[in-house]
Subunit: 182 residues, 2 copies
Amino acid sequence: MSDWREFEQNPVSHSAAHHLTTIQWLLDDQGYARVSDVARHLGITRGSVSVTLKGLRQRGLVVEDDHKHLSLSEEGVQIARGIRTKRVLIQALFREVLGVPDEVAEQDACKVEHLISDQTAEATGGFLVGLEKISSDSQWTHLLESLQRLAAATPASFPGSATQELALRLEKKDPQGEDQPS
Amino acid sequence: MSDWREFEQNPVSHSAAHHLTTIQWLLDDQGYARVSDVARHLGITRGSVSVTLKGLRQRGLVVEDDHKHLSLSEEGVQIARGIRTKRVLIQALFREVLGVPDEVAEQDACKVEHLISDQTAEATGGFLVGLEKISSDSQWTHLLESLQRLAAATPASFPGSATQELALRLEKKDPQGEDQPS
DNA sequence: TCAACATGTTTGGGCTGCCAAACTTGTCGG
DNA sequence: CCGACAAGTTTGGCAGCCCAAACATGTTGA
């Protein structure tokens, strides 16, 4: 329990992460990004964006063009890409593996993208790559599909009885949890 | 226009979530919970806890015993259990499926526990239950293990080349150029 | 040329959540 | 009975982020 607030020492806050990824997205999409564009996309006021970006400029993550056009510094690009990659991976994990509807997967991924460790993100990537490689094996895909159905089976409420029961077991054997019902 | 700040309208904030689960943990562990215990456990001052708990009391989530002993209301228990369950499930997902070391899995789970939707949490539960059921079939466990190895293979840095490549593909094939930076 | 409009910035406020420090209580050993 | 200490509360500050509103600028169409 050393650091439950560890996310607070993240390179960028939740808010900053969204500012950066938004700028990058705007650049990709329309070739330029201004304060107003960012504000519109994030659904906040220009004033708020202006202030936040002032900070990000000072931190060297955002650069302002000669004519109020925004772009990202090398470091800014690095951070934005990392976060974006994490979002896509987590979203795919939830969607492809757990069978969660894409919109929900995206929302959840969006909420946690900047919190997931590099290690878990990388593991997600590795897992998905492996999954892709064996996706030609129909036996496996059948299994995965039935697991997905099972996963998405209870649209009712959380926590369902089976889930609750599993969670209790997981909690109990917390010490050295192995997945063996043996 | 899915709101990227959606987490802000959660029933409880990140901070509140930790206060609640801490009280529950303390009750389970030592049979009682006081302001000082919660403060110690969270690594913040008694003053902060005192103020926060005053709010949670007013919201009817926390109850104060006759002698400064804290406990949770019915609703408080509900919320705390839900969050705790989510943490355990996500942690297990990362550990058992992705092959992430338990400490890392716990840290990540801890950071996102209160953000994950009920639907994704339930799907995680369903998936793990299904996985458990077929864990006797060595064919699948072997497959899973090799996937885990693949997942955890690159302890190096994030994002690894394969992961990066996958992420790019995932991003590309996103149906609509992703109209919502969400 | 000039009013109208879009854009960017600044400022004052609010809310959450943390700390430090002063204060209040309650309990216990001498 | 009293001093000391642990526990709880209150208060003033600070930081992050958001809004609203007043301003400053720049572009444009009539």
